[in-house]
């Protein structure tokens, strides 16, 4: 949840960015960013539109949605459908003869942001 996508450039000064919501989480994105989100349907290479845009900033102007900006969207292409690193779920209660061990791999989608439509 806290991991920054490595190629995310510093916003603020001029480049336009948007805050979008997908998979119950919010992300600050700029054109060209690659980020991992909860799985979205679609094959690799297809385009998706994220229409829950909560804020558009940069360019010296900030637009705040209530709660979303009407008509605004973020365009992206799916660059990968994959599963995250394996997480070992291990539960154990001492002296109660209770042990559970399962693995989990979250289904994720890698998105490349292609455009922000204000």
């Amino acid at each position: 949840m806290s991991k920054k996508t490595s190629n995310q450039s510093a916003a603020g000064s001029d480049a336009q960015y948007a805050i979008v919501e997908t998979g119950g989480k919010q992300y600050r994105v700029q054109v060209g960013d690659v980020l991992s989100v909860e799985k979205l349907d679609g094959d690799t290479g297809t385009a998706v539109t994220l229409d829950r845009v909560l804020l558009i900033g940069g360019d010296g102007d900030t637009k705040i949605g209530t709660p979303v900006l009407e008509g605004a969207s973020v365009a992206a292409t799916i660059s990968d459908q994959y599963r995250g690193e394996k997480i070992v779920v291990f539960k154990y209660k001492p002296k109660k003869n209770y042990r559970r061990r399962t693995g989990h791999r979250q289904s994720l989608t890698k998105l490349e942001i292609t455009g922000i439509n204000a």
Partner: protein, 121 residues
């Protein structure tokens, strides 16, 4: 049926556990029995702390948002109230991110909150 000796499987199992407890202190990374206990405990901590991490970060974001909102002349509590009444759904992670990376945008959000804070929801 071919005879199967148990040492091979046991050795494999021990190697697997010992590889997982590299870096644990004292005998916890050497003796199989201690290592196995240590491994179980570490996996339990991992499970617990994946949940605690969500709280830890939320607390950190709140500290950051509070600091930034006070620079804009509003308290954290009033800011959140104002955003709720004003129907702005930007979460704490993103507010903290704005506070750090785009102070101007954060000020704009704070202004929206100021307009709505203090009114009845």
């Amino acid at each position: 049926m071919a005879r199967v000796k148990r040492g091979v499987a046991a050795h494999k199992r021990h190697k697997k556990v010992l590889a997982q407890v590299k870096g644990h202190r004292a005998t916890n990374n050497r003796l199989y029995k201690r290592a196995h206990e240590s491994m179980m405990r570490s996996l339990m901590y991992a499970y617990r702390d994946r949940r605690n991490r969500k709280r830890d970060f939320r607390r950190l974001w709140i500290v950051r948002i509070n600091a930034a909102s006070r620079l804009n002349g509003i308290t954290y509590s009033r800011l959140i109230e104002g955003l709720r009444v004003g129907n702005v759904a930007i979460d704490r992670k993103m507010l903290a991110d704005l506070a750090v990376h785009d102070a101007a945008a954060f000020s704009a959000v704070a202004e929206v909150a100021k307009q709505h804070a203090g009114q009845k929801a």
